[in-house]
């Protein structure tokens, strides 16, 4: 069973991944080595649609994965058969306490992902994405493996129950409710002040033109 999946996975790997990660999984100029990547790694990177990347070193956000569940399992089987190890896919349970989850979220995640998990800038050109699209399993995987700029959290820091609570809090946030009604979001008081003065400038032009035109 496992062997059959691994063979199917090897085919998929050769087709979709080898060009970047190399036939031996050791990586290339295009991508890092994924030798020793565990099931959680592969499941997260492929399941969130980040992999296969379209272009090397261009970061992908959460997308629909082109693979079926069986194909992802086959890829996992193949990658872990080349070099066993790595984190297994975490086990998550339904339910959880959103209020406790909120406290944990505030302490561990908010400063990157934003108070409402809506996604936020984390300096230079990095962006911590919105958590709306991730499934419970993917959330737990992200926490354990720490993709990209995100730090991994060990079991002692955030236990399995803690993750269920965090997931319950994220799910409790009404999807779409925090998106603004207006097209643009201000990037801070500096542009706000400039625009305020522009508005007053417009008003001055209005006053000038108005008192002239009606003479």
């Amino acid at each position: 069973m496992f062997v059959a999946a691994a063979i199917a996975g090897a085919l998929l790997y050769g087709q979709h991944c080898a060009s970047c990660h190399g036939a031996d999984l050791r990586g290339s100029v295009n991508a890092p080595s994924i030798r020793g990547a565990g099931a959680a790694q592969v499941d997260f990177w492929v399941g969130t649609g980040r992999m296969p990347a379209a272009l090397p070193w261009v970061e992908e956000g959460h997308r629909r994965t082109p693979f079926t569940r069986e194909q992802i399992d086959a890829l996992i089987a193949y990658v872990t058969s080349v070099q066993p190890g790595g984190a297994a896919i975490p086990v998550v349970l339904p339910g959880g306490d959103p209020r406790r989850g909120r406290t944990l979220f505030e302490q561990n995640c908010e400063h990157c992902h934003g108070a409402y998990a809506q996604g936020a800038s984390i300096g230079s050109s990095e962006w911590a994405p919105s958590l709306r699209d991730a499934s419970r399993v993917q959330l737990a995987e992200a926490v354990r493996i720490g993709p990209g700029q995100m730090p991994p959290f060990a079991e002692q820091q955030l236990g399995g129950r803690d993750l269920d609570d965090v997931a319950a809090y994220v799910e409790s946030l009404d999807a779409g409710a925090d998106r603004p009604l207006v097209p643009l979001t201000s990037s801070g008081p500096v542009p706000e002040g400039l625009l305020g003065w522009l508005a007053v400038g417009l008003l001055i032009v209005f006053a000038f033109g108005y008192s002239r035109s009606s003479r």
Binding site: A115, L181, V182, P183, T185, G188, V200, L203
Partner: protein, 440 residues
């Protein structure tokens, strides 16, 4: 018909016809610069109207404030619009006050007998900035919490009373449980009511003392009657203010606190700046020297000089300006006639220097962002702004005064030419002949 009946009802009881007639006949000057104060007035109207709505939503408690503001989203569109308009009007309000004040300053409208109204105006400017700052602090988000922490340090730097004042405001040490409730009372009741009272006084004095005018004839009052003329014009100014504010409010989400996140005293968002009218104080703190003095055993923290002494001096200068101006111009006569800016180049110089100083300090408040955008060392930028503050402001003042003097000379030379009225008459060949006439 109904209007007449209502009018009669009030007239029979209050004798209101006489003063309504007087009010309708009041004459308003017809010059674009007289609309500037009205823009500020109408922004205030918008602020009060939307602010009342926001008091229904806002939870003035240490734990509930952030959620009650960040919860104003797509799901609550009316409250969302109210909050947008409220914050944008605040940004426009203070800017409108400043341009209005610049008009008063440069045309010397503050001269006797209007010194009191100048002081009332300055008081409103200070209170408006304070209202803005306290309002910006209410959502308890990471950005404004950082501003509050700075304000708290400035408060603590006050000798003798600082620690006591901060403890009172916070209900403990910063950020205390009483901080948000106290700010709320100050922002939503004390300050707006005080501004409202001062505004009434401002307008009452204006009506009683009459407007100033450019027409250099003290015996005549020139302008348009309130009814039917000026009432419609001021309504247009009102709608212009509303329109501009609504455009901003419906295009750009201001102060996205949900993105900034809740305030925790262990995090500081980066970059952090206050709203623009408080930025000059932040800039002063960034440029201020690292000077720790001890006076009679009391430590005076470095923030005391830029955070307390500098704004104190600026306020003192502004309040005292009508009297300083009298000293310089040796002119203490009561007048209703405005002085075009060019008649007193030294005043133009002082005004330009003050504006330049404010501009440099305001720019310095975001020096970190500029350094990053321009790829320069932030310390170089700090030193540049220090230099500009010390010398650039003086240079700007001198340059502005020189330009004003030059303009006056040119104006004087052309003065008599302007008297000449020229009329053209078409001649038989299809060209034009000049026909000289006497001035009307």
């Amino acid at each position: 018909m109904i209007v007449r009946r209502v009018g009669r009802f009030f007239d029979e009881r209050l004798g209101s016809d006489a003063w309504i007639r007087a009010a309708c006949a009041k004459i308003y000057p017809d010059h674009w610069s007289f609309y500037l104060g009205e823009f500020a007035l109408y922004s205030f109207v918008l602020l009060v109207a939307t602010g009342i709505w926001l008091t229904f939503i806002f939870q003035p408690t240490a734990g509930g404030a952030f959620d009650s503001v960040a919860g104003v989203t797509r799901a609550t569109p009316v409250a969302y619009l109210m909050r947008q308009v409220h914050h944008w009007s605040a940004v426009v309000f203070v800017a409108a006050i400043l341009v209005h004040m610049a008009r008063i300053f440069f045309t010397a409208a503050f001269r006797k007998p209007r010194e009191i109204n100048w002081v009332v105006g300055i008081s409103m400017l200070i209170l408006a900035s304070l209202t803005g700052f306290t309002g910006y602090s209410l959502p308890d988000d990471a950005l404004s919490g950082t501003g509050l922490r700075i304000a708290n340090s400035v408060l603590l730097s006050l000798p003798l009373v600082g620690g006591w004042g901060a403890a009172l405001l916070n209900g403990g040490s910063y950020p205390g449980p009483e901080l948000i409730p106290h700010l709320y009372t100050i922002h939503a009741y004390f300050l707006p009511v005080t501004i409202g009272a001062l505004l009434a006084l401002h307008l009452a004095l204006l009506t009683y003392q009459k407007h100033t005018q450019f027409v250099p004839d003290p015996a005549r009052v020139v302008g348009r009657r309130f009814w039917p003329d000026y009432a419609l014009r001021t309504l247009a100014a009102f709608f212009a203010t509303v329109a501009v504010t609504l455009i901003l409010a419906s295009a750009i989400e201001i102060n996205p606190v949900a993105d900034y996140g809740r305030y925790h005293d262990w995090t500081i968002p980066n970059p952090a700046v206050p709203d623009w009218y408080a930025a000059w104080l932040e800039g002063a703190l960034r440029l201020g020297p690292a000077l720790e003095l001890r006076i009679a055993g009391h430590p005076i923290p470095a923030v005391f000089w830029p955070g307390v002494v500098l704004p104190g001096l600026v306020i003192a200068l502004l309040v005292a300006w009508p009297w300083i101006d009298k000293r310089i111009s040796r002119d203490d006569a009561a007048t209703d006639v405005l002085a075009p800016a060019t008649t007193a180049p030294w005043r133009v110089g002082v005004g330009a220097a003050l504006i330049a100083a404010g501009l440099v300090l305001t720019l310095a408040a975001s020096d970190d962002q500029q350094a990053r955008a321009l790829h320069v060392d932030v310390r170089a930028l700090v030193n540049l702004y220090r230099g500009l503050f010390a010398f650039g402001t003086i240079a700007a003042g001198i340059a502005a005064a020189a330009i004003a003097r030059e303009l006056r000379v040119r104006y004087d030379e052309r003065g008599h030419e302007a008297e000449r009225v020229v009329a053209l008459r078409r001649n038989a060949e299809g060209g034009f002949d000049e026909e000289e006439t006497k001035p009307a």
